[in-house]
């Protein structure tokens, strides 16, 4: 870790762990978050207390400003759209209309002059709801007599993807062994530490509304909110200021934002909404509620020749915008084979509606679950073939790249086996096995678990279009200006909220333009200031906004060279940019950027009409995508009396191509792994059978603390792939993707003397004890 000013011996900024430009304000308490803005009015949402029912009456306290669906005349419901896979379009009114479909669904908005008063008055609102039968679990929802969450979705199936390679049945039939695994992933909440928050202000003079909100997608929010309200998009400005974590939860449209903009316009006042943690747990978005059954068909030599999968994803009561609720089941279908070379594949993936909080993307989306499923399959297959799990994986990992998967994805340059070898060597598996044996002799149960996976990152429009999405994200644009003083500003459509893009993009641009990162200002999170873009999600920003930054910097560089060429009477090809100067190569003839910049604006005549005035360039990048990969190894100790799991160590060997800033890359891995460990051991949203949530506080829903997260060790490989302009691959989600599988495999390894197969996450002490009890009884 070095200061930006200290360049050491490397001529390049890329690859250096420079300190983040984001940090000085944040450590001083000068961050500006959505909930920090003062407002004239405050909103409290009145939410449904039942999972399924008909609204009979809504009665507000006298004199209070209470808005219901009936008041929002002309506001359209949220109706995300997909044009494939038998998707059934369903609508979500921004405030419940006639019926409620999950506990926490917003029914009315109470507006008052303080947050406390709004909360007081909202408590006095009487909502009479006639209960109807609720269905909470996906396997129950597909039963013939289950109540319908939306009448048009028969059997509560909202989306159904099917894929089968022509030779799959035959390969299944001729295989030497078929190994089955059925896993269950319980529901989670992404739980950004900053709850959802927003502030809307109507400017009478311009007729515009400025919405400041905790979002990962400011431009997309502007488009959809304006569309639903029926206002001109130009009359809405969306600002994502400092955002206190998102992890996917803040990329989807929440109906509360639409209501807030509507109220600001209607009342002509500033209005704020900050949810409390209970609302966040009950009514934001959930994820990962899936059942997956796999059958792997193996040759006698332990090579998988066919894979069949059945995916059941509980997507809750509504479909999220823009991805739709198909994102979990369809991603599971497309990416199930993971890093393994299996040519025959069949999958049925269904999204099932229930009377629960809607599902939306959460770091890794389906991949923590599918990696858990296929890595359990690998370990079970290893046991069946009496092979070491490492050997089992080595026989099946993809080895020749580029590789086209059975579902048509192209795995770009990488070396999956080497990534695993690095992990195995670093953890010293042989030494562990000796230690494990000695511990067992003393009645202690240590276990080691692996997860190998590839992570699709930085994918552009083709990947999203393949899902049949009506709203097809993918590309990013960067506008780059050098102002008359010579300062560089890059305005980006991506919208970082902790990823450090202000620093990493500046490193990329600085190398291209021969300047230093601290002289470059990255502007993001304001639809008035930045070009249209898709925001920050899906491990995409460094790859796509990074690529666009490089392209824009090349254009700015070309312009600087042509201007310098004219002023220095040299060919532009002979100009190099270094140290904030343009220099004629092989000479000491230089011209400082600030002189060039001033001339570009104020002395255009010096260029004889050969260059256009000013320095402002724009570039867009829309890549096909690139796969990073990793091998995670967990070492655990399981207390068989209490079912408690202690994590001793966690090691990550990963290959995300070129590392722009290793310090930031490792930070992303740390955070992802911690969330994956929580997924494996702790966090679970629990509903009772009537759809009432039992985990609505952080005393019930258990994010890990520093005590639960073990020391992590990281090894990097840097396979350079041309699938990314900067040769950087994404890695924002990988930590969360691999960790659950590694931890659960480690627990199963620890409990192998008892012939336990634990295939459910989180593996709470109760579940571990139950698995041990049932294993001992049989």
């Amino acid at each position: 870790m070095t200061d930006p000013a200290d360049r050491g011996t490397s001529p390049l900024w890329v690859g250096r762990s420079i300190r983040r430009f984001e940090d000085p304000a944040l450590v001083a308490g000068l961050g500006r978050f959505s909930g920090d803005l003062p407002a004239q009015s405050f909103v409290r949402f009145v939410r449904s207390s039942v999972a399924s029912g008909r609204i009979k009456r809504i009665g507000g306290p006298g004199g209070a400003t209470l808005l219901t669906c009936a008041d929002l005349v002309g506001v359209k419901p949220i109706r995300p759209m997909l044009h494939k896979f038998d998707y059934v379009p369903i609508s979500q009114p921004v405030l419940a209309h006639e019926v409620v479909r999950f506990v926490g669904e917003p029914i009315a908005a109470l507006v008052a002059t303080s947050a406390a008063e709004a909360e007081d008055l909202a408590d006095l609102v009487e909502v009479e709801i006639e209960d109807t039968r609720a269905v909470v679990r996906a396997p129950d929802a597909i039963l013939p007599n289950a109540p319908h969450v939306h009448a048009q979705a028969k059997g509560n199936v909202v989306v159904e993807g099917r894929v089968q390679t022509p030779g799959c049945d035959a390969a299944m039939a001729r295989a030497d062994r078929r190994i089955a695994v059925a896993i269950r992933s319980r529901r989670q909440n992404a739980l950004p530490l900053e709850p959802r928050a927003a502030h809307a202000i109507f400017e009478r003079a311009s007729g515009r509304v400025t919405l400041t909100c905790a979002t990962q997608m400011p431009h997309v929010m502007r488009t959809i909110i304006a569309e639903l309200i029926g206002m001109r998009e130009a009359d809405l400005r969306v600002i994502a200021p400092d955002v206190g974590g998102g992890f996917g939860q803040k990329m989807s449209l929440c109906p509360e934002l639409v209501v807030l903009v509507w109220i600001a316009r209607k009342l002509g006042r500033s209005v704020a909404w900050v949810e409390d943690r209970r609302e966040n747990l009950v009514a934001s978005f959930h994820s990962r509620d899936q059942h997956i059954s796999l059958i792997g068909a193996f040759n006698a030599d332990g090579r998988m020749i066919a894979l069949s999968a059945d995916v059941l994803a509980n997507v809750g009561a509504y479909s999220c915008y823009p991805t739709t609720c198909a994102v979990e089941p369809l991603m599971a279908m497309a990416e199930m084979p993971g890093p393994y070379d299996v040519r025959e594949y069949a999958c049925v993936a269904r999204g099932i509606l229930t009377h629960t909080c809607p599902m939306a993307p959460y770091r890794g989306v389906s991949r923590p679950v599918i990696t858990f499923a296929i890595e359990r399959l690998m370990d079970k297959a290893a046991a069946a073939f009496a092979l070491d799990p490492i050997d089992m994986r080595r026989r099946n990992l993809v080895k020749a790249f580029p590789y086209k998967t059975a579902t048509g994805l192209v795995l770009d340059a990488a070396n999956y086996a080497e990534t695993m070898d690095v992990a195995v060597e670093a953890i010293d598996v042989a030494a562990f096995r000796v230690r494990q044996k000695a511990a067992r002799a003393q009645g202690r149960h240590l276990g080691l678990g692996l997860a190998t996976f590839s992570e699709r990152t930085g994918y552009g429009t083709p990947a999203f279009a393949a899902r049949g999405m009506e709203v097809i994200p993918g590309w990013e644009t960067v506008e780059m200006t050098m102002d008359p003083s010579g300062s560089i500003e890059a305005r980006i459509g991506a919208s970082p909220h902790g990823q450090g893009l202000r620093t990493t993009l500046a490193q990329i641009i600085a190398d291209e333009l021969g300047t230093s990162p601290d002289s470059i200002k990255i502007v993001h999170g304001d639809t008035d200031r930045t070009p249209y873009g898709w925001g920050t999600f899906a491990s995409r920003s460094l790859v796509i906004a990074g690529g666009a930054s490089l392209l824009a910097a090349r254009k700015v560089g070309a312009k600087l060279k042509s201007m310098a060429g004219i002023l220095l009477e040299a060919s532009p090809q002979d100009i190099v940019l270094e140290g904030d100067n343009a220099r004629v190569v092989g000479t000491d003839r230089t011209i400082p950027f600030e002189v060039l910049a001033r001339a570009a604006y104020h002395q255009v005549a010096r260029f004889n009409g050969e260059v256009t005035p000013g320095i402002c360039e724009s570039a867009t990048y829309d890549p096909a995508g690139t796969f990073s990969n990793a091998c995670h190894v967990a070492i655990v100790e399981v207390d068989i009396e209490t079912g408690r799991v202690r994590l001793e160590k966690f090691l990550v060997s990963e290959d995300a191509g070129r590392l722009i800033n290793p310090m930031i890359a490792e930070g992303q891995i740390h955070g992802g792994v911690a969330q994956g460990i929580a997924n494996a051991l702790l966090e679970e949203i629990v509903y009772d059978e009537t759809g009432n949530m039992l985990t609505a506080t952080l005393a019930d829903y258990l994010p890990p603390t520093a005590r639960e997260i073990p020391p992590m060790e990281i090894r990097h490989l840097e396979t350079l792939s041309d699938a990314s302009l900067t040769q950087a691959k994404g890695l924002g989600e990988g930590g969360a993707i691999g960790a659950p599988a590694a931890v659960i495999n480690a627990i199963n390894d620890a409990l192998s003397p008892f012939r336990v197969s634990l295939d459910e996450i989180p593996a709470t002490p109760r579940r571990i004890r139950e698995a041990l009890r049932s294993a001992l009884q049989s």
């Binding site: 870790m1 762990s17 300190r19 983040r20 984001e22 940090d23 000085p24 944040l26 450590v27 001083a28 308490g29 000068l30 961050g31 500006r32 978050f33 909930g35 920090d36 003062p38 406390a116 008063e117 007081d120 739980l191 950004p192 530490l193 900053e194 709850p195 400092d242 955002v243 206190g244 974590g245 992890f247 900050v274 409390d276 943690r277 909220h497 902790g498 990823q499 450090g500 310090m663 930031i664 490792e666 930070g667 740390h670 955070g671 992802g672 792994v673 911690a674 969330q675 506080t697 952080l698 005393a699 994010p703 603390t705 520093a706 005590r707 639960e708 997260i709 020391p711 992590m712 930590g735």
Partner: protein, 163 residues
């Protein structure tokens, strides 16, 4: 429900704030809304996450779990008061050097928690630091670099005392 407002004076980072507040208002709400010091954040409002941690006299407290009226006559310190002029507190510098923050939302709470621990127990061990830090939640860093930053500052301050 709404109650009669009372006049109180809060001393935050050495400055007195005279405010009229309902007795039911929490300390963190008054610090943020009435005194305008928004560096202290609210993450859960039920005493679990610690984003609202401030130092009250010599104790790190959850500002969401006490009323503002209870903080009268005490010295309240928040993240805004950590630096002396332009000179950051060593722990603020250490958080930047060790990449101990990402989104920065939990950071003020962690800084106040750890500064208090270092001040009240200068000989704090690495294990004790881990115990203290497990009071608060961070969702971004996996705690790895927060632990490193605090341990490194503890060692640095001990070295400075010894020399």
């Amino acid at each position: 429900m709404v109650t009669e407002k009372v006049e109180i004076t809060l001393n935050i980072n050495g400055q007195d704030y005279a405010v009229r507040v309902e007795p039911r208002r929490t300390l963190v709400d008054v610090i943020r809304d009435d005194c305008g010091q928004t560096g202290t954040h609210i993450g859960c409002e039920h005493g679990i996450c610690g984003a609202c941690t401030v130092i009250l006299d010599n104790e790190a407290v959850r500002a969401c779990l006490m009323f503002a009226v209870q903080a009268q006559g005490k010295r309240i310190r928040t993240v805004e008061g950590l630096a002396e002029g332009e000179q950051l507190h060593p722990l603020q510098t250490s958080f930047m050097a060790h990449h101990a923050l990402q989104c920065g939302f939990c950071t003020p709470g962690f800084l106040m928690l750890a500064v208090n621990a270092l001040e009240t127990n200068p000989d704090i061990t690495d294990e004790e630091i881990l115990d203290v830090l497990s009071s608060n939640l961070c969702r971004c860093t996996g705690y790895q670099n927060i632990v490193k930053a605090v341990r490194s500052t503890a060692h640095e301050l001990r070295r400075a005392r010894a020399s």
